[in-house]
């Protein structure tokens, strides 16, 4: 059994208003060192697969077909 951890974020070129609002609030909190905030989604999947590569392939398919919308989002998959 493998665990796929997927991070989905808005593509860098796209304005992230939620991240911007959170950044603004952090500034108000006095955390002036925080320079940029991007907010995304985190997805964890348990995958039954014969190898790490197979688990990676399955997670890729899941991301490309459903979990992320590649028109506006990037994703990163870590398999454990």
């Amino acid at each position: 059994m493998y665990k796929a951890k997927v991070n989905i974020t808005l593509r860098k070129s796209i304005l992230d208003p939620k991240g911007k609002a959170a950044h603004h609030a952090l500034q108000n909190l006095g955390l002036k060192n925080v320079e940029d905030v991007r907010i995304g989604k985190f997805v964890e999947m348990n995958i039954e697969a014969g190898s790490k590569e197979e688990a990676q392939d399955i997670a890729e398919t899941a991301c490309a077909k459903l979990l992320a919308n590649e028109v506006m989002e990037d994703y990163r998959i870590d398999i454990e």
Partner: protein, 233 residues
């Protein structure tokens, strides 16, 4: 022969009855509901994918609805060149299904916006807008939190070159200005068609602007255009 208009109902649709009412009681045409598990679209002359919050907008607006059984039938229906109108969440579903290009982001200012806005007719190429005049301004309500239309610059160029932009947000006088683009959409886009012109997605709700008692009847102007071309009336 009477024409049939189908309104798809997903779990979480909430403008399905508005669309049904507008078609049946204001436009006096035949309307029927189609459940998201239906797969038979025979005899349907116009398909409406209504607004709402299908599947609670989980993951992304429209992302889950796209996998409903009826959507395979909708793909086939579109391939056959038959007309599909997606309103609000319906537009989002058509984007997720790949039937229209682009994607929807959260409104730039993160607010859910529910008010009358003005949209300008940018193209009369499609079967939905052929009865309108380019430059016409319609007052139509919007009601969405994720209507910030996004497409990359190549995609936008393609839309423009192929006359696929149906509506843009504008001022009351029909000017395209930043202040009228309340949700931050690329190029003030409020509605687009597919290349073939048989699929229209739009964020504003014409079905909510059908009666004097509700203070706005510009939706009738839009549906008259749709109905004339499809010879529904």
């Amino acid at each position: 022969m009477a024409k049939n208009i189908g309104v798809i109902v997903f779990p979480g649709s909430n403008c399905d009855h508005d669309a049904y009412h507008a078609i049946k009681h204001v436009m006096n045409a035949e309307a029927k509901f189609l459940w998201h598990k239906d797969t038979d679209l025979s005899g349907i002359d116009l398909l409406i994918v209504p607004g709402g919050f299908s599947y609670g907008d989980y993951l992304r607006s429209g992302a889950i609805a796209r996998f409903s059984p009826v959507m395979n039938a909708v793909q086939q229906y579109v391939k056959e060149g038959r007309p599909v109108l997606g309103i609000c969440n319906g537009f989002q579903i058509l984007l997720e299904a790949g039937l229209l290009p682009g994607a929807m982001l959260h409104n730039e200012k993160l607010r859910f916006v529910c008010k009358n806005v003005h949209i300008r007719v940018e193209s009369t190429r499609s079967q939905f807008t052929s009865g309108l005049t380019k430059g016409d301004v319609l007052k139509i309500p919007v009601s969405h939190g994720e209507g910030n239309y996004f497409i990359d610059s190549d995609g936008l160029k393609f839309l423009e070159e192929n006359d696929q932009i149906a509506f843009r947000y504008c001022t009351e006088k029909g000017e395209i200005k930043e202040e009228a683009n309340f949700n931050g959409s690329v190029s003030s886009i409020a509605g687009i068609t597919n290349l073939e012109g048989n699929v229209l997605g739009m964020m504003p709700h014409p079905e909510r602007a059908m009666e004097t008692v509700l203070g706005n009847t510009d939706g009738i102007t839009f549906f008259n255009s749709v109905f004339n071309e499809l010879q529904i009336a």
